[in-house]
Subunit: 400 residues, 2 copies
C-alpha cells in the first residue's frame, strides 16, 4: 500500500486537533506474572481503554526490533525501509546538532597513531573532559576547508560528531577507518565520482587535525565513519497538510521531528512539562507529538519498578490533556523496551485512540494483553497516522 501517495491525494485541512502521546518503550514483558503496564496503577489510561479503540502495532514487521529512528518514522506514517537514516545522521541528532539539506555528518573517534599505524582506535578511551577540550581546540583552529564549514560536537569518552556544511557534498564515501588496529590510517574513498570533491575535503580535514594534535599523548588522530546526509524525506506538512509541533526533551527525538518538518519545543523531562507546554502551545498547531522518555530509559536499565513509576507519572497528566478537548487523542509507543530484556524489543506497542468517530472497546484496563483484544487488532505502526487523520476528519474519500 503506498500510503504516501494516498496521503498526498486525500488529506484536507480542518480545525481538528490531534494529540499523539508517545510513551517511549512502553510495552514490556511479565516479571512475576505481570508486565510493567500490568503492575502500574494508571486509572486514566484505563479509562481511555474503556472509551477508546485499542490495538497493537508492529513498528517494522513482527519480530523485527527497531531502533528509535525507524520506529518513529513508522509511527509518523513513513515506510521505515524506504527511509533509512544513516548512523551519522542519528548520532548528530542525538547530540543536538542541526542537520540541513546541504550537510554531511559523520561519527568520529579520537585514535592513537604511532609510527604510521593506528595502534588504538579509541585513544585509550580518553575522558569526556579531555575530548571536550580537544574538540574545542580543533574547532578554534579549523573552521573552513574549501568553503565547507566544519562543526564538531564532543560525545562521551573518545566519540564526537562532525558536520561539514557547504555546496556539493556527497555521502558516497567509505569509512576513514582502518577497522583493525595495527593498520595504517585509511583515508575516505569516493564510492562515486560525484563524491570525489567531498573525499578530498574530508581527508584534508583529517590531515589538518592530525597535524594539530601531533603532540597529544593519546588522541593524536581521528577516524571518521558513517558519512551520511539528510535523506530526501517529505515533510509531514507536505504529506498531511497539518501544522505539527513536537514536545520533547531528548535531542534525538527533537532532531527526528525537525527532519520531518515539525516545529520543536524544548521542554523538561517530566510529564508535567509535557502537559504545561501542550497547553501553552495548543492554539498555534493542529498536531502535537509528545515524547516521554523515562519509560524507555528505565526499561533499558532493566529497572522494572522505575518503569512502573514512570508509567504512573505520565498517567497522571492525562486529565490535563483531555481538558483541552483534542478531537483525537492517541497514546502509544514507538517500540517496546521490556525491563526483562534491558533493550528495545520486537514486541508490539499497545495503543489506544480516542475520538468521537471511534467506538469504545470497554476494555477493563490498558495493558498489552488487553490491547490484543481491542477493536483495532494488530496493525503495522504505519497505520497510526492514517487512523489519526481519518478520526480527525482530515482524510477525504478515496475513489467515487
Amino acid at each position: 500500500m503506498n500510503w504516501e501517495e494516498l496521503a498526498r491525494q486525500l488529506t484536507q485541512v480542518n480545525q481538528a486537533k490531534i494529540v499523539l502521546l508517545v510513551i517511549d518503550g512502553l510495552g514490556g514483558l511479565p516479571i512475576g506474572g505481570q508486565t510493567e503496564l500490568e503492575r502500574a496503577r494508571h486509572p486514566h489510561l484505563d479509562e481511555l481503554a474503556r472509551i477508546g479503540s485499542c490495538g497493537l502495532t508492529d513498528p517494522v514487521f513482527p519480530g523485527v526490533t527497531p531502533g528509535s529512528g525507524p520506529a518513529h518514522l513508522a509511527l509518523f506514517g513513513y515506510d521505515p525501509l524506504k527511509y533509512q537514516l544513516g548512523r551519522g545522521i542519528l548520532e548528530a541528532l542525538g547530540v543536538g546538532l542541526d542537520v540541513g539539506p546541504k550537510d554531511l555528518v559523520a561519527r568520529g573517534n579520537f585514535a592513537t597513531l604511532k609510527e604510521g599505524l593506528i595502534v588504538d582506535r579509541r585513544a585509550g578511551r580518553i575522558s569526556t573532559e579531555i575530548n571536550q577540550s580537544i574538540c574545542h581546540k580543533i574547532q578554534e583552529k579549523i573552521k573552513i576547508i574549501n568553503n565547507v564549514e566544519i562543526t564538531l560536537v564532543p560525545g562521551k569518552e573518545h566519540r564526537f560528531v562532525v558536520r561539514f556544511r557547504g555546496e556539493g557534498l556527497n555521502d558516497a564515501l567509505s569509512d576513514a577507518d582502518p577497522q583493525k588496529e595495527g593498520n595504517p590510517p585509511a583515508p575516505a574513498k569516493a564510492l562515486k565520482a560525484e563524491a570525489e570533491k567531498t573525499a578530498a575535503i574530508v581527508n584534508t580535514f583529517i590531515d589538518q587535525v592530525t597535524l594539530l594534535l601531533k603532540d597529544e599523548p593519546k588522541a593524536n588522530t581521528i577516524l571518521l565513519r558513517g558519512f551520511s546526509q539528510q535523506p530526501a524525506i517529505p515533510s509531514m506538512t507536505e504529506l498531511y497538510q497539518i501544522k505539527p509541533l513536537a514536545l520533547a526533551n531528548y535531542p534525538m527525538y527533537k532532531g527526528l521531528a525537525k527532519l520531518l518538518g515539525m516545529e520543536v519545543e524544548n521542554i523538561g523531562p517530566s510529564g508535567e512539562d509535557l502537559a504545561t507546554s501542550l497547553r501553552e502551545n495548543y492554539e498555534a498547531y493542529d498536531f502535537f507529538y509528545l515524547h516521554f522518555k523515562k519509560t524507555d530509559s528505565a526499561g533499558e536499565d532493566g529497572n522494572f519498578d522505575l518503569k512502573v513509576a514512570a508509567i504512573e507519572e505520565i498517567d497522571a497528566i492525562i486529565p490535563r490533556i483531555l481538558a483541552l478537548k483534542p478531537e483525537v487523542f492517541c497514546v502509544t509507543s514507538d517500540h517496546s523496551t521490556p525491563a526483562l530484556l534491558k533493550a528495545h524489543s520486537w514486541h508490539p506497542n499497545p495503543l489506544v485512540m480516542v475520538a468521537s468517530s471511534l467506538p469504545g472497546d470497554n476494555l477493563p484496563a490498558f495493558t498489552e494483553r488487553n490491547c490484543a483484544h481491542g477493536s483495532l487488532g494488530r496493525l503495522p505502526a504505519t497505520a497510526v497516522m492514517p487512523l489519526l487523520l481519518a478520526s480527525a476528519g482530515k482524510l477525504k474519500k478515496f475513489g467515487a
Copy 2:
C-alpha cells in the same frame, strides 16, 4: 516489507534451538458445532495456549487457498508470490525425484494417438500397473538424448514425471499438449531462443517414445506439461544463519525442505517417529521442521473423526518435545484442511509459540476460535520466521 533483505542484515548465530511443528491441514470448520481441533482432546496443546503466545496466520492472503508449496514457503519466510514453484517441480518432489540446479522436469500423461490425432489425453486412464510397466520399458530403451540423461517416475493411472538432466537446459517451453482431444500432437515450442536446444531434445524424446509405444493399444504416445527448473531460491542457512533439519515422511515435504537447503531425515508417519528422530538429532542442528501429515490426509478424505484422532496422536508427543527444552517451540500448520470441505482451504492457521520472551496468553484451549484472541493477532504466515528468530535472540536491531 522486504523481509529477505532484512534477514540478511539482521540475523545472528547463537546456541538457541527452534522447533517448528507443522500439523498439516490442522485448521478446520465446525461439523455439529465443533471443529476437529475443538472436538479433539489435546491437553498438551491447551497447556501451550496458556503459557505461549497465540494467533492466526494467513499463508498467502486472506481468502487465498494455498497449495502445499506456497503455504510452506510462506511459513519458512519466503514470499510465496515471488518464489512460485513450477507444477513440474512440485510433482517431481511429490514422487520423491531429486531435482538439481541443472535439471528440467515436466508432468507427463500417457495418451492415445489415432490417425495423427490425439483422441484420448489420458489413454483411457490406464491402470497404475500398466503405467509402471510402460515407464519401465521406456526407461530401458531411452536413457540419454544428446548428452541429456532422462529419468521417468510413474504416478497414478496415466500420470508420470520426467526429469531431463544435462547442461544448458531451459524451461521456457510451451506445453507439448494439444489441450483438446481431436487435435494433432503439439510439440514443445521454445518461448526464448535459449530454450531451442531443450525443445529439440524434448521433442526427440516424445518422438522416440511414440515410436517405441506404437503397438500399445491405448498408451501409444505422451503429452508433457509444466516444464520447470529449480527456482533460484536462497537457502535458509544463507538467509537466517541457521542449521536446519527437516523431519518428514512424505516425499513432497522432504523435497521442499531440500530445495530450501535443509538437511532431511527420513522418518515414519507417526507422531512417535517425529519425537524419536528429534531427540536423536537434537544436538547437531538449531532449527527443526517437524512435518505431521495425517491431519491433512484425514481432512482431504473428509474424515472428521480420523482427523480428530490424528490431532490426539500428535498432541501426545508434545511432552517429549518440551523435555528437550528448546528455546522456542512453535506449533502451527501450513494451511487448513477442514474435513467439511475435503480440501485445502483459505482459513487461517492456528498458531502457538512458546519462549521465555513471549507472554502467555492464558487461553483456555488451543482452538481456531481461541487463537483469534491471542496476543499475536492475525498475521501473514511470512511473519512466523521473523518471530521465531526474534524469540530465539537470532535477530539484531534494525536501525539506530
